[in-house]
Symmetry: C2
Subunit: 324 residues, 2 copies
């Protein structure tokens, strides 16, 4: 397929009938904003060998590209509306690969909403580079920010923490882990917490997603809110796979607390918030409190400070990830 065929056969169907996409046949897309809504804009890029393993299934890579961006929208309380895709493809990418990649994106458009409205396909002599721009909408003034947490607010997280980091530790450093298939699935298919994000609008004082690692991302909220936080390692929610892994290899606890790629939400709730109502949407755990000061303190089960070598995730190849 040449680029026009690729657009017509693989990408134009991803417009899902959105009229503003103009069938991907114009220089640009048109977005008529809905009155009473703000737009939320995010753009994350992923690179072969850095953010995904080159042997990951192409549909999973498409899904991951969607979900790292959807997770940002979720963290801000926004609903997905439109996407723009830039794909820089090496010669080794053939039609079958690209077809499966597009199918991965399409399945997530159906699952999470929104439409592809534009983008660009170019060639590179290096590894594949994909960037996705995600545009969501949120009732005017309703975006959840990193700034805004108050002293005494509860530190809450969704779902479970650490599975993706344990998978990466296994792949890169042969760490011995349990239930590898479960961990791989969490690494490949992050769950953007869109319903929870919507439920947190007007309720959470601040929030972000856990992409760099729990301690680092909580640190971002602290920095933007001008606060510190204290969390209990024992309260951090774990999947059965992570629990089993840590039971055998307690030394992997820092990997769980500081590893990235979870794409859960971490957020600040006032102490009087109705947790049960949120639990109906998505599992939520209280792991600590915001406090005056700065930085994140992590306490072990005895209440002593845990010393962590690093607070956040750096991707395996060279320069770190400036993902926001």
């Amino acid at each position: 397929m040449d680029e026009f065929e690729t657009i017509a056969r693989l990408f134009a169907p991803l417009t899902r009938g959105e009229p503003g996409a103009l069938g991907l046949g114009d220089d640009a897309a048109l977005l008529a904003p809905r009155p009473g809504f703000d737009l939320v804009l995010t753009k994350d890029a992923i690179v072969g060998g850095v953010h995904f393993f080159p042997d990951d299934p192409p549909a999973a890579i498409g899904a991951k590209l969607m979900r790292v961006n959807l997770s940002d929208l979720a963290a801000k309380g926004a609903s997905p509306r439109a996407f723009l895709l830039a794909a820089a493809l090496p010669p080794a990418v053939d039609d079958a690969w690209l077809t499966a990649f597009a199918a991965g994106i399409g399945a997530d458009l159906d699952r999470f909403g929104g439409a592809l409205v534009g983008g660009d396909t170019v060639s590179t002599s290096g590894p594949a580079v994909f960037s996705l721009t995600a545009i969501g909408e949120v009732p005017a003034g309703g975006m959840i920010r990193r700034a805004g947490a108050l002293p005494g607010d509860l530190v809450c997280v969704s779902g479970t923490i650490g599975d993706a980091a344990l998978y990466v530790a296994h792949r890169l450093h042969r760490a011995e882990v349990a239930q590898i298939d479960q961990l791989e699935d969490r690494y490949r298919y992050p769950r953007p917490r869109l319903a929870l994000g919507a439920a947190l609008r007007g309720l959470a004082h601040a929030g972000c997603d856990v992409s760099d690692g729990l301690v680092a991302d909580l640190g971002h909220i602290c920095a933007q809110s001008g606060l510190g936080a204290v969390i209990e390692a024992g309260a951090v929610p774990l999947s059965p796979a992570a629990r089993e892994t840590l039971a055998r290899r307690p030394a992997l606890l820092p990997t769980v607390l500081t590893g990235g790629d979870d794409y859960e939400l971490v957020f600040a709730l006032p102490p009087e918030a109705d947790l049960a109502a949120l639990e109906a949407v998505c599992p939520v755990s209280v792991i600590g409190r915001f406090e005056q000061g700065q930085g994140v303190r992590v306490l072990d089960r005895a209440g002593s400070p845990l010393k962590l070598d690093r607070t956040g995730w750096r991707h395996p190849v060279g320069r770190g990830d400036g993902s926001r």
Copy 2:
């Protein structure tokens, strides 16, 4: 500089005080749409060795990235408002390079308007890949599309055609050209025709920018409008450098007509349009007419059809450019 320093020192100043950028310190940016305006979205990517020469000055690469996207906004009649940048950087990119690249973007923000509101910086083992998402605004319903040209409409182009293609032919195929500095400047610093695009709102029936090549891009308007067009090669406006080059090497005429990277506008005007009013904004030339049928016919000075080997530009490396 690590990624956080890069964002703080180089990219955060490019937010130019736009409050919705949240200082590049959040997961996403906030855009409150102006009532009565539609948003116009475009995203083009450029790759080292494909869309720019690796020895191009970094400030020029930043400017080119801005301008290929601004040109799409111009073609649609939109004014720039916000940008999101994804940069995949090879290890060879050092702080000095990145500082100059950011300065090139900053100079164009000052010149053309808008603000950087988000993005992502990642590493790659391959050549640099940059993608820019440009968001413009246009009075509701006012976007100029590729569809909409009518039979009898004038085919018009802005500025002059072919300089960038002659420069590329010189660099890649040692084509003998005149006034190389002029050609290089046109290649490196496209002029997005934003003022002309704004003047064309409500006047042009259709339009797009000349990125793939004059004949190919006019062909896009024809295809989307369900028409054909006939143009006279002798009427295509040329710079002094291109005129002098063609006087010496007439065989380069097809390069001028089909080469890309001009970033002028090609558009459909009703025959009764006031060209003089447009001329006050930007030089405009009438080069032909839209007609029933399909495809673009090019006539030589004697009125005979010119046979062109190709109608559009393919970038030098491998897979073509799916740029829209």
